[in-house]
Symmetry: C2
Subunit: 506 residues, 2 copies
């Protein structure tokens, strides 16, 4: 190319954010579109991040007594119909199984055969099928609480899909619990939200705001939806995890009853909660830069790549021996309870090799040539810094301090993301300012707008809907940690006792 390449990814974030996102994922080898409409293939480099997330979260769940279980992928149509709001919420995007075999048709090709008496829905979420089990498992207060979690896949037939963020099939965990009292169920709903916050902030290095959803934005069938909301680099919000207090809605719909200690029959109180592979999209959009993705060390697919630099063929065996011995030294090292994963890349492909690892977002790139060997040093590039900022570090110090180096990167990513979020959050009390805040200043880049607006809201659905229709802005949450404050609704001027977060969202 005649043009000087200044960034590894084209377009850059500021040139075209949505296209940058697609390119970054493609070039990092995280995932790709599949030939099945709206479904993705999660490639090993992306799946390893998901595995790290699942192991971390699963350990957190187990510490509070969550037990894993597995329920059928198919939900009979009649089950889904039991809770009216719930079926309403999912009916438009269901994959429906209607037949159970294939047979040769008149033209010789295979056709669906063996029609089912009742269609089966590929689970979009499992409240109704798990509720059926709960109704059999629970009869007395002694059987409560029931706290189960399922790791699995779900299907929602989305019309507009984007890898990780919105796909027809995705991976997730869904927790489902039943309790004797409303208080206990609400307490569990909150406890899970705190676990999600811990996971996303401390492991994915994505700062979040905890809050309640407005009634219109709740999960179909929930009485309260708690959420953690993250801000992407295009200043849009991403709902990163939700925990639902379902009241007795599903218990009533599915007859999940128990005998209390006073021998009275009552409906249980249920909750459900989930995070999904969507988090991988959040990771890319929070930390990625114009050279590719940037993986936080605690969930990185690998931590270090060793890159032997062989300038003369005569150096090869000595350099490779040095690299191998360095890899061996690291073999038993542990970072955050998991082994430090070291890759060796000795491919002879020139500068493309280093760029590949930059695009893949590996935290540390370590170049080792004859000169480094002579100095008993390694030449280290950190992914959280510019690609030219490399540093020679004595070998022993590098080996001894790798854990703290990774921690430093982890913390720096989080601090940077927190700063970005704060820089793009604004208290707004005037509808004109609010409208300007959410109106793109540059028509060529419709994605660039203000960010989060902390504004007063009267609690009325009409105001919420009007703002959504006019500006494409929704109430992301009523933040849990925002102090009460007298004010007037940004839209209608009626009294309000707290600010909520408005934003454009994924």
């Amino acid at each position: 190319m005649g043009k000087k390449m200044t960034t590894a990814i084209s377009p850059t974030r500021s040139e075209d954010y949505p296209e940058w996102y697609q390119q970054v994922i493609r070039q990092s080898d995280m995932a790709e579109r599949s030939p099945v409409r709206g479904c993705m293939v999660i490639k090993p480099w992306g799946y390893a991040v998901w595995e790290n997330i699942t192991r971390t979260l699963d350990d957190m769940f187990k510490k509070i007594g969550v037990k894993n279980a597995y329920f059928p992928i198919f939900i009979p149509l009649s089950f889904l119909e039991k809770e009216a709001e719930h079926v309403e919420g999912f009916a438009k995007e269901c994959a429906v199984v209607t037949h159970h075999r294939l047979e040769k048709g008149p033209d010789g090709g295979l056709e669906p055969a063996g029609r089912l008496n009742e269609p089966l829905i590929v689970r979009p979420t499992s409240e109704t099928i798990i509720g059926d089990s709960f109704s059999k498992w629970i009869s007395s207060y002694r059987d409560l609480p029931v706290i189960v979690n399922q790791w699995g896949n779900v299907v929602r037939w989305e019309m507009r899909t984007r890898i990780f963020l919105r796909t027809s099939e995705f991976l997730w965990q869904e927790g489902h619990t039943a309790h004797a009292t409303s208080e206990e169920a609400m307490e569990l709903t909150e406890k899970i939200l705190h676990i999600y916050e811990d996971l996303v902030e401390n492991h994915l290095a994505i700062p979040v705001i905890k809050g309640k959803k407005s009634p219109a934005e709740r999960f179909p069938g929930a009485e309260e939806t708690l959420t953690i909301e993250a801000m992407m680099q295009d200043r849009r919000a991403l709902q990163a995890g939700t925990s639902h207090f379902l009241g007795q809605n599903f218990a009533r719909a599915q007859q999940i009853k128990f005998q209390s200690s006073e021998e009275k029959e009552a409906y249980v109180w249920t909750t459900s909660w989930a995070v999904s592979t969507r988090l991988l999209g959040g990771l890319v959009m929070t930390h990625g830069d114009d050279d590719g993705i940037v993986l936080p060390p605690r969930v990185a697919s690998a931590h270090v790549v060793l890159l032997p630099i062989i300038r003369k063929e005569g150096d090869r065996s000595a350099v490779m021996e040095y690299v191998q011995s360095l890899a061996r030294e690291r073999r038993d090292a542990v970072y955050q309870g998991r082994p430090v994963v070291v890759e060796i890349d000795d491919r002879d492909i020139g500068g493309a090799r280093g760029w590949e690892w930059i695009k893949k977002g590996i935290p540390l790139r370590v170049e080792i040539g004859a000169r480094d060997m002579a100095e008993n040093a390694v030449f280290v590039g950190r992914r959280d810094k510019g690609h030219r900022e490399k540093e020679s570090i004595p070998r022993d110090r590098f080996v001894g301090e790798i854990g703290s180096l990774l921690d430093e990167i982890q913390e720096r990513l989080r601090t940077r993301a927190r700063g970005f979020q704060q820089d793009h959050t604004c208290r707004i009390d005037d509808m004109d300012a609010f409208t300007r805040y959410f109106t793109p200043q540059n028509q060529a880049k419709p994605e660039i707008h203000g960010g989060y607006a902390m504004a007063h809201w009267c609690g009325g659905e009409n105001c919420e809907t009007a703002i959504k229709n006019d500006l494409g802005v929704t109430i992301r949450c009523l933040p849990l940690e925002e102090a009460a404050e007298e004010g007037r609704c940004i839209f209608c001027g009626r009294p309000s006792d707290r600010r909520v977060i408005f934003a454009k969202a994924y």
Copy 2:
């Protein structure tokens, strides 16, 4: 009950083996039938065993360089049709998705709507969808080998189902690899078989025989299927894991080609391999007894249950303190790289409590009452022994030796199962004896017959089919470790150079 209860499970194995199996699973709380035809619910006690199996196997895979990934659950019908034998093998048991939403029908109920242009099959196995990715990922010998594994669910619409053994949906791992040479692909196929043997023998304590399948019993589309075969207590064989050498069949069907180092274009050589939740059925049927399941310690959901025995209310707090301190002491203990899982059951439900844990198969039951405390001892029941054979062990010794105690149980279960298999394996050279061996002696118990027959087979499909039709007996495998031996086919008398294993099978 007036009748003296001698076993916890009714019927016993010898009274009605198939019904015993259903009862044992129900009463152990491992799993249950779901309202969705042929699908199961895996309950926490059963799922924990599956989790232990998956973590153990996943670690083994990672050690040889297997990378996990995830591919779509849906397979377009046209993909499945590409390999003729393959689609033939699965067409009769496919869940077919034909619509992508629900709409109110004329009678007000919801009906499938939004017909798909091409039906999608819920994956029965993923060779064809993963092969599509391989065809995009692979272009040069430098891209090879590709070694990926997927943990997930699959669906095969079985008409007769039995929990764990044959269900419409089950959980499994499926590995898929592509190689530059036939030799390398075959080597990988064998390496995986050895990993499966290690898992099943050393962790599930189920002895297996490794072998090749006869051509008729191969996976649809495979050139060679390697298998591990276990023997259940009704002397039937259970195929516990298979590893397939697919030759270039799928590569040709899906155009998976690469440029060799000599710049020639060639098809890759592929393999696939799987174990599933069927292993849980094998576990139950190998080790279970007339009191319930018996969990091998290395995969047990929990290792020890502490049962406080409170004869006088005044003893309660002292006994509970003793139990809690014992549990604390065990908290950091590790068995086989995982924490020793200790349950405390202080429910006041009399003798039913101990029986519940026996039926659940927990390796060690530890009773602690005032007398044990006074002696600074614990009263230990081992699940591999009779339920009355309990032993008082000094507390310190119990705490110090728990690992070796669990190892002893693990080894004893395997030795016992190995002995059972050997006792019911017979070399047979005469068709009359062969027929008698496989003919139930008691018409009331059609499941009781000889077991494995090591017999000569000419290699002809006719003889194999005739034996299958006459006796319901199939060739389980051509054992890898069986020495060559001249002989004559048990059915037709033609020459044979080795014995194969015939058995009835699940």
